[in-house]
């Protein structure tokens, strides 16, 4: 009853102070919810990408003598399985072939058989290079070793049995050989074995015919595996949960089969790596978001503290009237609860609305229960503390029984006396310097291993820096304003003219409130600036990364037999295409190592794809291409190749290329002219870049296997058009840059930051506007009386406005100056520290000028709006004078 009476009155007559606090809490909760939503979706995205990148989820090797049907049943029971296929392996002593009078023999190898529909469920296991897929297939390397091609005969040297002869139907590449031939059941610490070079793939019936006897005679030389694809829809979206789910299922299976089979959990391993990355992503995004959340909390506290004076007076009155401390705190808690509950509810509703409409945030996944609860509790706590802490602090004074009433001289706050801002900045510098001295290697991504080892300490530097800058802003602002010196007068002079001395005197008395306004505006702008710059730089690099993987906006991937270049004219004439350039993709032996070779026209390739200076070592992209154009037999090689062959500029290096005329590898001399670190579509391994004319001349084939295209507008639209143009040739693959999934050291950059950008930057703008405008508006409320008096002694409305404009100008100038500097430096620090994440690392910060201009404009606009709305009208003055 008492509480109801009180809270009804507060809501009816003091609605603004409750609404203000609720708004601050709503902002905090909305930001937190939005971030949780983004993280959940990012996690789901990472899981989905990881899962789609694993060709074979599980490989279950049936122990010799065990019943495959039982193992298959156990498999189906242990996990949600979508498809299971049988794969048979047989060790062979070697392969032999006769070509052109000579006999080639290989060392030991493998004969593999997939069951009937294997390739429809696991299409990524085999990539056709020449010939057909119907019949016996031979691995690229093996074909090269034996000098055979489609139509040639190969003799299989079985173990302990006479050899059999087969005819080659096609030459293939085995992209997933590492997993396909892994030794299932090895302990995880064991070093991964290299896959065999010599592989033949036989149709199932042929394999059974040839190797069933070998299996009977030498069971240790054959193996049967069940390759399983799990029902990915059944996996939890969050990487950690997905990992737990899959590994639990694996253990379940192992328990069920107990000794009858061994399990290689490819999916689990990949998810384990993604789990690390997901954690890293969470930390990174939390770091980017934490300033915003801190700011929202500070804003809430600022709003509630603005009403604190009146609440304190009410509480003193309540005490006089005989209210117990408990009652006083409960009344305050009631007000707090109303604000907190309303704010939390509104915040969550706002976040879900945001999820529905935010562009780029493909919110397919919602926030899970525990996280939602956490966010709600946080919002409620913020509200309660904001109201109760001052009330409790005042009440404590009273209960100190023998309190002697002393009048303290107001001291500078403790942190200022301790120079905490300086200490924080110095510490930030030290941590940063330490990271810099190790070459910013905070993300260790050994090549080929899809896992990250993160140095979380690296985040300490920018965090300390941000905090130190905030405190420094407060110190400098307070000093400048309170000193009431020439600098202050200079700042307010543009709007106050002759009244500048009076205005600055008035402002210097309100240094505390103005400083808080400046600090909060600065923090908002700093948050917006640092996040925007980081996101923009990040997105730019992610785009470059995708471009590298895909090659260009749209790439048509063909083979030597079915080159995409044959359709160059048709593709180039598409209206959506700005440019279409051919590129050769061949293979060449560098010593015994088979590397990808790309043949380009250096003059024209730049039309279809961007080549960054970072791709090449020691020279700019333009310079390197010019040199290649000038050297017809020039070749760019990888760093590793230079080391292996101790190459000097201009050295001749012999590469063995396959001649189209006789399908044989012949040595071709090239001149080493430079190092290429990256190249469109090139793999992580060593590769070669040369002039397509020279390659065509020396191999007798000018076929361009790839076509790179630049889109006028939307790459996806161009890709669709290209696909439709090429429908008569299904062996050509059309990919656009958006689809580029890539497996690099960290799947972190696979996460689409577009959603994060939208969330954080939207909030930054709102909070920057709120911080400036709200602080100003609340301050005006307390100056009604002085303004009424000034009007009474002859101040014109324009002159009254000068006081307001001066405050607004001060907050704007101070906030933007400190904010932009702090934001820029924080972003620079963050980008430098995360150099390892970017691949290739950014050359410079990408600054979103338009966005920063928009933020600045909106902040200025809200300040102007606050000033305009606070100017007193004549009618108002009369009413207020009655109070005097």
């Amino acid at each position: 009853m008492m509480f109801l009476l009180w809270i009804r009155g507060v809501l009816a007559r003091r609605f603004l102070r409750v609404a203000g606090a609720a708004a601050g809490i709503a902002l905090t909760v909305a930001l937190l919810s939005a971030m949780a939503l983004f993280l959940a979706n990012a996690g789901a995205s990472m899981t989905a990408r990881a899962v789609s990148a694993v060709p074979i989820d599980w490989q279950v090797q049936v122990i010799s003598g065990a019943d495959p049907a039982l193992v298959g049943k156990a498999l189906a029971d242990a996990a949600p399985v979508k498809a299971v296929h049988q794969v048979r392996y047989a060790d062979v002593a070697g392969f032999e072939a006769q070509t052109g009078g000579t006999t080639q023999t290989t060392g030991p190898g493998q004969a593999v058989a997939f069951d009937g529909s294997y390739l429809s469920d696991f299409p990524a296991e085999i990539r056709s290079l020449s010939g057909t897929l119907d019949g016996v297939l031979i691995a690229q390397q093996t074909a090269a070793n034996l000098h055979v091609g489609p139509g040639d005969a190969v003799s299989i040297q079985r173990m302990g049995l006479p050899p059999v002869e087969v005819r080659i139907a096609g030459v293939v590449d085995l992209p997933d050989a590492d997993a396909l031939f892994q030794a299932v059941g090895l302990p995880p610490q064991a070093a991964p074995q290299a896959p065999p070079d010599n592989v033949l793939i036989l149709p199932q019936e042929a394999w059974r015919q040839m190797f069933d006897p070998q299996q009977k005679a030498r069971p240790d030389t054959t193996r049967l595996q069940l390759h399983a694809r799990l029902a990915h829809a059944a996996l939890p979206p969050d990487p950690v949960s997905a990992y737990t789910f899959v590994t639990a299922a694996q253990r379940n299976l192992e328990a069920r089969v107990a000794g009858q089979a061994l399990v290689a959990d490819n999916l689990g391993s990949r998810l384990g790596a993604v789990r690390e990355d997901a954690l890293y992503a969470s930390v990174l995004f939390l770091f980017l978001g934490l300033p915003g959340i801190a700011l929202a909390v500070a804003l809430t506290f600022a709003v509630t503290s603005s009403g604190a004076a009146r609440r304190r007076a009410e509480q003193a009155m309540l005490r006089v009237r005989g209210a117990t401390i408990k009652a006083i705190l409960l009344l305050s808690a009631t007000e707090a609860a109303v604000a907190a509950i309303a704010g939390t509810a509104i915040g969550m509703a706002a976040a879900s609305l945001l999820a529905a409409v935010a562009p780029g945030l493909k919110a397919t996944v919602g926030i899970d229960g525990p996280t939602l609860l956490l966010v709600a509790v946080f919002g409620l706590l913020v509200g309660l503390i904001a109201f109760l802490y001052p009330a409790w602090r005042d009440a404590r004074w009273v209960t100190v029984a023998a309190a002697r009433r002393t009048v303290n001289r107001p001291n500078a706050p403790l942190w200022q006396r301790l120079w905490l801002d300086g200490l924080l900045l110095a510490a930030a510098g030290l941590f940063f310097w330490q990271s810099a001295s190790t070459g910013y290697q905070i993300v260790l991504a050994p090549e080929g291993v899809a896992a990250t080892s993160v140095d979380y300490k690296a985040f300490i530097a920018p965090a300390l820096f941000w905090l130190g800058m905030a405190l420094l802003t407060i110190r400098l602002s307070a000093t400048i304003i309170a000193r009431n010196g020439a600098l202050l007068r200079m700042i307010v002079a543009p709007v106050s003219g002759a009244l500048a001395p009076v205005v600055s005197a008035a402002l210097s008395r309100q240094a505390g409130r103005l400083t808080i306004g400046i600090a909060m505006t600065a923090l908002s702008i700093s948050f917006a600036t640092s996040t925007a710059i980081f996101n923009t730089t990040y997105n730019a690099q992610a785009r470059i990364d995708a471009e590298l993987t895909n090659g260009s906006d749209v790439t048509v991937f063909g083979t030597t037999d079915k080159p995409a270049g044959a359709h160059l004219k048709a593709l180039a004439s598409l209206p959506e295409a700005a440019a279409a350039e051919p590129m050769q993709h061949r293979f060449a032996y560098v010593g015994t190592d088979l590397q990808d070779l790309y043949g380009i026209d250096p003059h024209r390739i730049g039309r279809a794809t961007g080549l960054s200076d970072a791709y090449f070592s020691g020279a700019s992209a333009a310079g390197t291409l010019a040199l290649l154009a000038a050297t017809s037999d020039g070749v760019l090689v990888s760093e590793e190749t230079v080391q292996d062959f101790q190459l000097q500029q201009g050295d001749t290096i012999n590469l063995r290329l396959m001649d189209a005329r006789d399908h044989q590898y012949h040595p071709v001399p090239f001149k080493f002219i430079g190092v290429a670190r990256e190249f469109p579509t090139a793999p992580k391994d060593s590769f070669l870049v040369a002039n397509s004319a020279y390659v065509a001349r020396t191999t007798g084939s000018d076929a361009s296997e790839y076509v790179l295209m630049r889109a006028r507008a939307d790459p996806a639209a161009l890709a669709r058009k290209a696909s439709s143009v090429l429908t008569f040739d299904p062996s050509l693959k059309v990919a656009d840059i958006g689809q580029a999934a890539h497996l690099i050291g960290s799947s972190l950059t696979a996460v689409d930051l577009g959603g994060l950008t939208t969330i954080e930057l939207g909030f930054a703008v709102v909070m920057a506007a709120a911080a400036a405008g709200l602080m100003l508006a609340l301050g005006f409320y307390e100056r009604r009386r002085p303004f009424a008096i000034l009007a009474a002694i002859g101040a014109k409305p324009r002159q009254l406005a000068a006081f307001l404009w001066s405050e607004g100008l001060l907050i704007l100038v101070g906030g933007m100056t400190f904010g932009l500097i702090s934001g820029l430096l924080t972003a620079w620090m963050l980008v430098k520290l995360l150099t390892g994440v970017f691949d290739p690392p950014p050359e410079a910060l990408s600054i979103p000028w338009l966005y920063l201009a928009v933020v600045s404009g909106l902040v200025a606009a809200s300040v102007i709006a606050a000033v305009l709305s606070a100017r007193p009208s004549t009618g108002q003055t009369a009413e207020q004078l009655r109070d005097l």
């Binding site: 009476l5 009816a12 007559r13 117990t324 002697r404």
Partner: protein
Amino acid sequence: MHALDAHEIYRFFHIGDDETAALRGVSFHVAAGEIVALVGPSGSGKSTLLACVTGLDEPDGGFVEVAGVRLTRRPEAHRTRVRAASFGILLQSGNLFGHLNVEQNLRLQMLLARKPDDKRIAGLLESVGLSHRARAFPTELSGGETARAGLAVALAADPPILIADEPTAEVDGDTESRLIAHFEARRDAGLATLLATHSKALAQRADRIIRLKDGRIDRG
């Protein structure tokens, strides 16, 4: 045993390094059915003394008893209870909560003293001449109406002792007379009233005058 007993009250304050004695051994009492006026120049310690006898402040020496119940050197909860039950407090200004209207202010006071009685509200309002202003909010009241509303709130819980600190300082003669009439009605009803005041008119209507000077009772 009197309604209010104060014995040898001492109160010191520290401002920086200086120590000032606001009260130096003040003893007095207020009996039921009388009006006592506390007079003295500014700085004589009137407000401090009132704070001490109502339990809002803890004296450094001496004790205070309300109807024989010790108030000083007791837990805050006890002092609050006694204050709510025994005292009606009327200050110079700031007697009303701005977000509650007159009627709600009265009701709140009753709830705080745990003596809710809606029927009394109408009578109270009538006795201070504010029946027509029951729903008005404090910002809408004139100076005199505010003072009368404050008195109604102070009397809302029917306290045995009324404490008033400069109740007529900001009001006109007419309102002052009405307030005085209330105080006298209280006295006739056997209730106690303690006033601190500058006003000679008010002091003259008291049964006893206690003069404070420099923290001591001035018998001269």
